[in-house]
Amino acid sequence: MSQVNRIEGGLIDRSKTLSFTFNGKAMQGHPGDTLASALLANGQTLVGRSFKYHRPRGIFTSGSEEPNALVQLRTGAHQEPNTRATVAELFDGLNATSQNHRGSLEFDMMAMTDFVSPFLSAGFYYKTFMWPKAFWEKFYEPVIRSSAGLGRLSMQEDPDIYDKGFLHCDLLVIGAGPAGLSAALAAGRSGARVILADEDFAPGGRLNAETLEVDGMAGADWATQAIDELSAMDNVRVMTRSTVYGAYDHGIYGVLERCTDHLASSNGKPRQILWRVYSKRAVLAAGATERPIAFGNNDRPGVMLAGAVRDYANRYGVTPGQQVAVFTNNDDGWRTAADLAAKGVQVSAIIDSRDAPAVCDVPGARHVRNAAVVDTVGRKGLKSVTLTDGQVIPVDCLAVSGGWNPNVHLTCHQRGRPTWDDDLSAFVPGGELPVGMAVAGAANGAMTLGAALQSGRDVANAQVKDLGFTASRKAAPKAEDEPRECAAFWHVKESKKRAWLDQQNDVTVKDVKLSHTEGYRSVELLKRYTTLGMATDQGKTANIPALAIMAECTGKTIPETGTTIFRPPYTPVPLGALGGRARGKDFRPYRLTPSHKWAEENGASFVTVGNWMRAEWYTRPGEKGWRDSVDREAKNTRESVGICDVTTLGKIDVKGKDAGEFLNKVYSNTFSTLAVGKVRYGLMLREDGICYDDGTTARMGENHYVMTTTTANAVLVFRRMEFARQCLWPDLDVHLISTTDGWAQFAVAGPNSRNLLRKVVDEEHDISNEAFPFMGCGEITVCGGMPARLFRISFSGELAFEIAVPARYGNSMMGVLNEAGKEFNVAPYGTEALGVMRIEKGHATANELNGQTTAHNIGLGKMVSQKKECIGNVLSQREELIRDDDIRLMGFHPVDRNEKLIAGSHFITKGEDAIMDNDQGWMTSVAFSPNLGHSVGLGFIKRGHERKGEIVRAVSPVHGKEIEVEIVSAHMIDPEGERLRA
């Protein structure tokens, strides 16, 4: 097909031809075309099917407000549905397809919905699918699902990359039309740091669409010159293809830059960048959007906004039709007729709803005054229009203008409400604007070119002066003010056929009236009941006419009827851009332990713990499953010696002369009395008396303690301690620093742990049981002088130490320890064996300290001191928290030693029904104990401390299983602690 509708002129580069396909049909265009302008040039007026009725639809606008021309771009994994053809830049090889039809675009089998449309009015879903109730799941929902939605996702992973960035400026100018360019020039000349952002690829806004002159030259040329001047300024950043989509708090704006959407391939560069712009001031120069007039069958391909028709002719050298009529209620519509006629396009008639003389002379066109279009003919493309007086005018394009709406959206993102301007018959910015924002040009109701240029300069100058810059004295660019009289006219009452308001959601004038009749009169309800103003265009062309009709129905004025709330984004933002680089492995940060490399080299499997990757076990040759490795590691540790990287536990240095006093307040037990060189177990409570965290704290010196926290709470405990230090007890002389990443720490556990360490710790440090007893600690040196910290603490229940070295030596320390331990048959162990041993020993972790249990419950009630002030001790003594008959932490053995216990099972007293009323508690942790040779569990059970030896039922309804278990001490290995002290 040739470019039958291409006419002279325009801002396209005719020296190059671009090939593209639409539904497989080969077509041609030029650089500077959008997909929409190229489709029109090729005579393709039918481009899609409507959402609900599958009505044939064409291109309605020439900008981001497009409701109809939604197409699918590209193929394979790059396929992107619901793209507006009016903003898609043409490139060589572009592959576009239409959406929402079964069968071909021309013969859509779903078009039958249009013929049954009387049954598909507003609220159709709510009314129809109510009965019979059973039909919903089996019939209605599947049918609706299969016919809902427009385009199709590729269902493949998005191969493109997306980025995020931050920008700062004194003044953000939003929109590079006449007002925006004038504002940016003024601000740039003052020396302020300016960002000028525009959604289009060619800055200039309406200057590119009009034949108006600025400073004695063509508007588009002046825009090019202005951009050249701005680009040469070091303090100005010009961003094209960049939509300011949201105005957020304190001068922060969201900007989506489309970097490679106009190229055949992104070539490994980010496809889009989501910018967060921090501005001190902003000038909104977003222009205005034309609105249609509703009349019968006004949605046919070929019925377009008048400003868009003019845009296609002037900017793209395309006429959307060979025989055009204009239907307008304002002077601006006349310019479309004049510009088209000047380009040799046949303009048959200008139908003006006003009883007023001609605005200008249009050769060959009839002026029909005080008239309107009531109906149109032509299912897949306009053939003729019928006027109120019955006369039929054959046309293939009707340019409609109902006046222009200032783009107030961003002024309302902080819940500001626009005010009504009777003169413009439109809402203008009003009320409280976002902090630092001022509005210029058409967005502020300055609808003519001269006024827009002047307002851009004046508003920008006021903004930069406010920031302390000296405003440039240069006058605003000069242009004439074109005629712009407008007489409100929303819909043609004489029309009997359906008249469309929101073409994207298939909402008609009748639907709005029905909504009113059925009582949905508030605009918020109207929107939700009819779906008016939803989806990709957010009703940019539809909302105001619909409000006007609702106002008519209710007898109120339009401002009394009000608008719905404008929320970001102004135009759609892809989820890929919002996600940025945070996907896959980089979805969140991850941390590696100091011995990660050694672990990798020695057969470790890893598990994510918080952000950490920890070794869960080390597989050795011949081991068939994880249990083989874990059993071996746990057994080997208890029989000889094992090594585990425990760096992930939080470490906090607490220093100052009041360090002990401070710890007394954050821990439930006392630390000021701890001797230097000793370690103590500490339990922290929340202020409400529930257990929060636990760990050991070592006193390294008179004014120096080293605290450990659980891995999961490391950050939270530190935050709480800073709160306590700064906000609760600011008088205490104490300072905190997190050293979690500073020290690599290893547990060396088992009867041979001391023998192993003797080979590593420098000789002058005596680590015998006498010199370095259980719960001792000290600064030592290892491997010939390297500073280290040694703690004799044990999570496994064995004779054990934890040794800490500066983190950068962690990996080699792991190697040294394992090398030194060879003669003792040392084996590294992971988190699973760690878990097995702590369950055997009855040590509580997050399963037991789950945010619901008290010190009393875990058998540490006596640790909560009432003799000193500490967080949580007052509320921990509430009656219900210290009941004698409450749950207690106990150990559990299966009566049949072959049974495998199930975590989460509930305990039921023998002989009672397994119902919640008889619930006695639950199993918190289970493991196979290789040292006892059977499954063991920890759990909470009522009065557990008085019930040792009792057999109860452990019931898991989820597994449909119950097991008889014996209640035993939680310390299932070495209850007297003899091994610890060996």
Binding site: D249, H250, G251, I252, Y278, Q414, E432, V435, E687, D688, V715, R719, E722, F723, Q726, C727, L728, W729, P730, D731, L732, E869, N873, V874, L875, Q877, R878
Partner: protein, 94 residues
């Protein structure tokens, strides 16, 4: 939002952790006769004003200062930012 840190200047709110009402500074006396009642109110009862609100923010991705930020909950306008430590001292804590 941007919080004007008294020591570091304007910082993005994303660098901070929000805790809540600055009344959390006024921890009751544990030895008071009605300590249990006071701690119950301290722990569970908060005002929820539509308008000016004093609240605690923690500069976790920064200098670890706790701040008392006076913010309008309707407009997000911030009228005052103080070091929580100074507020605590001024309120008689230490």
């Amino acid at each position: 939002m941007i919080i004007n840190h008294p020591l570091l200047g304007p910082r993005d709110a994303a660098e901070f952790i929000y805790l809540g009402d600055a009344c959390l500074i006024d921890r009751p006396d544990w030895q008071a006769e009605d300590a249990a009642e006071q701690f119950y109110e301290y722990g569970y009862l908060r005002d929820n004003p539509a308008g000016e609100h004093q609240e605690l923010w923690y500069h976790e991705q920064g200098d670890r200062s706790w701040l008392v930020v006076t913010r309008d909950t309707l407009s997000h306008k911030i009228t005052k930012v103080e070091l929580a430590r100074d507020v605590a001292v001024a309120r008689g804590r230490g």
